[in-house]
C-alpha cells in the first residue's frame, strides 16, 4: 500500500474532538498526478480528513507524509508545508476587502515575496485560465457563486502548490453554476495536478477520478477505480450509500 513514490502518505490517522472520534485509523496513499475522490454521508469525517492534510486540524494520532516530509514531526515548518497544498472551501472564503486580483496576488506577494508586477502577471494568467480575466478589478461581493469559486481556485493555484484539496467545492452553488467549476477542476486534473476532492458529484468522480474512496463514520469502507466502485461495490454500506446518491 505504501507506494514509495506516493506524494501523500497517510498512515493510521485518527482525530477526535473530545469524546467524538471523527477519524479512525485512516491509511491511504495518493500518487503524484492522481485524482482521489472522497465520498460519503454527511458527518462521516471527509472534511476533517482533508483539513488534517494541511493541519487546519491537528490529528490525534497517526502519520502524514507530504512529498517526503513528515507533517507531524517536530521541527517541520507547517507554514511552509501549507503553501505546497492549495485548498478550496465549500464557502469560497474569498477575502471580501480585496479585489479579485489582490485576492490572488496576496499570497505570492506576502509569502513568496514576488515582485508585485510578476504576481499580477501570474494572477491575470490564472484568471484567464478560469475564464474571469474581466473580473480582475471587482470585489468578491459582486461575483456569482460559480465565479467566486473559480477565483478561489485561482487564488490557491497562485501559490503554485503541488497538491490541491477540494472540500465540496460545488455544494454551495446553484445547480447551473456547478458545471463551470467542475470544468476548471477537470482541466486541472488533465494538466496533471495531484488532487484530493471531496464531492457529491458522482459524474465528476466517474469521469475525472482515478480512484474513489468511500468513508463512513470516520473509516474508509471501500476504495477502488470509479467504475469498479460504482458498478460492483463490495460492501453493503457502500451499496446502501450509492443507491441513495446515484
Amino acid at each position: 500500500m505504501m507506494a514509495a513514490n506516493a506524494i501523500i502518505q497517510v498512515a493510521n490517522l485518527s482525530k477526535a474532538f473530545g469524546e467524538n472520534e471523527v477519524l479512525r485509523d485512516i491509511t491511504v496513499d495518493v500518487a503524484p498526478r492522481e485524482v482521489l475522490v472522497v465520498i460519503g454521508p454527511s458527518g462521516s469525517g471527509k472534511s476533517t480528513f482533508l483539513r488534517c492534510l494541511n493541519l487546519l486540524e491537528q490529528p490525534s494520532g497517526g502519520e502524514i507524509v507530504i512529498d517526503g516530509k513528515p507533517l507531524l514531526a517536530k521541527g517541520t515548518d507547517i507554514v511552509a508545508m501549507r503553501a505546497e497544498l492549495g485548498m478550496v472551501f465549500q464557502q469560497f472564503n474569498l477575502f471580501p476587502h480585496l479585489k479579485v486580483l489582490d485576492n490572488i496576488t496576496l499570497g505570492p506577494v506576502r509569502i513568496r515575496k514576488w515582485p508585485v508586477a510578476k504576481a499580477r502577471e501570474k494572477a491575470m494568467e490564472l484568471l484567464r485560465k478560469v475564464g474571469l480575466e474581466d473580473k480582475a478589478e471587482v470585489y468578491p461581493a459582486s461575483l456569482s457563486g460559480g465565479q467566486a469559486q473559480r477565483v478561489a481556485i485561482a487564488r490557491a493555484l497562485a501559490m503554485e502548490p503541488k497538491i490541491m484539496l477540494f472540500d465540496e467545492p460545488t455544494s454551495a452553488l446553484d445547480p447551473e453554476m456547478v458545471g463551470e467549476v467542475l470544468a476548471v477542476m477537470k482541466q486541472l486534473a488533465k494538466e496533471g495536478m495531484t488532487m484530493v476532492v471531496v464531492t457529491h458529484e458522482m459524474g465528476f468522480a466517474r469521469e475525472v477520478g482515478d480512484r474513489v474512496l468511500f468513508m463512513e463514520q470516520g473509516r474508509i469502507v471501500e476504495q477502488g477505480p470509479p467504475e469498479a466502485l460504482f458498478e460492483r461495490p463490495q460492501q453493503e454500506r457502500t451499496k446502501a450509500f450509492l443507491s441513495k446518491v446515484l
Partner: protein
C-alpha cells in the same frame, strides 16, 4: 439672572488654548491606547495562559476602577517612580492611554471574533503565518466593523479628559474653573465649557457617520 458675556470674552483665548490641549491629549491618548489595546486584546485571545492571564487582569483593573483614581496613581505615583518628578500632561496622556487600551482591547476582541473563521483558514491554507493572517486578512475587515465602537470610545475619552483638571492639566475644565475662581461666577464658566465639549463631540459624531458611510461604500 444676568449673564456676563464679557468675562467669557475675557477668557476666550485661554479657553481656546484649553480646547487645543483637550483635543491633542485626547487624540494622542486614543492613538496610543488603540495600539496598546491591540496588544492587550490579542494577548487576551492568546492560547497561552501566561499572556491571557495578565491581559485579562489588566482589563479588569482598568475597567473596574475609577478613571480619576487611575489618573492620580499615574500622576502622583507611577510617573515620579520612573522620572523622579511628575509632569501633568505626560501623566494625563499616560493615564488616558492605559485606560483606553483596556476598552479598545475589548473592541478588538469583539471585532476580530466577528470575522468568519473561514477567512483565517483560507489565509493559513495559502501559507500565511497566524500573524500574517491577522495582519492582512482579519484585521483589515475587523477594523471596518470596529469604527463605530472606536468612535464611541474616542468621544468618551474626550469627555473624560476633563478629569485631568484635577492634576492641573491646562485643558478646558481647568480654564473654566480658573474663570470661576477669578470672577466668583458659576454659570458662565461651566456652561461655556459644556458648550465647547458639546461642539467637539457633536462634530466628532458627524465625522464618524461620514467615515462609516465612506468605508461601507
Amino acid at each position: 439672572m444676568d449673564f456676563r458675556f464679557d468675562i467669557i470674552e475675557d477668557y476666550f483665548p485661554l479657553l481656546m488654548r484649553g480646547t487645543l490641549y483637550t483635543i491633542c491629549i485626547s487624540l494622542a491618548s486614543i492613538v496610543i491606547g488603540s495600539i496598546l489595546g491591540l496588544g492587550v486584546g490579542l494577548g487576551k485571545m492568546s492560547r497561552f495562559w501566561f499572556l491571557r492571564w495578565p491581559m485579562q487582569s489588566y482589563i479588569n483593573f482598568f475597567r473596574g476602577t475609577p478613571l480619576l483614581v487611575q489618573i492620580f496613581i499615574v500622576h502622583f505615583a507611577l510617573v515620579p517612580l520612573f522620572y523622579g518628578k511628575t509632569n501633568a500632561i505626560a501623566a494625563g496622556v499616560i493615564a488616558l492611554s492605559l485606560n483606553a487600551a483596556a476598552y479598545t482591547a475589548e473592541i478588538y476582541r469583539a471585532g476580530i471574533q466577528s470575522i468568519d473563521k473561514g477567512q483565517t483558514e483560507a489565509a493559513l491554507s495559502i501559507g500565511m503565518t497566524p500573524w500574517q493572517a491577522m495582519r492582512f486578512v482579519v484585521l483589515p475587515q475587523a477594523i471596518k466593523r470596529m469604527i463605530p465602537a472606536f468612535g464611541n470610545e474616542f468621544i468618551v475619552l474626550l469627555k473624560d479628559s476633563s478629569l485631568l483638571t484635577f492634576i492641573t492639566v491646562p485643558e478646558i475644565m481647568y480654564w473654566s474653573n480658573a474663570m470661576k475662581n477669578q470672577y466668583i461666577r458659576v454659570w458662565e464658566p461651566f456652561l461655556t465649557a459644556a458648550l465647547i465639549y458639546f461642539i467637539l463631540t457633536y462634530t466628532l459624531n458627524k465625522l464618524l457617520v461620514w467615515l462609516e458611510r465612506k468605508v461601507q461604500a
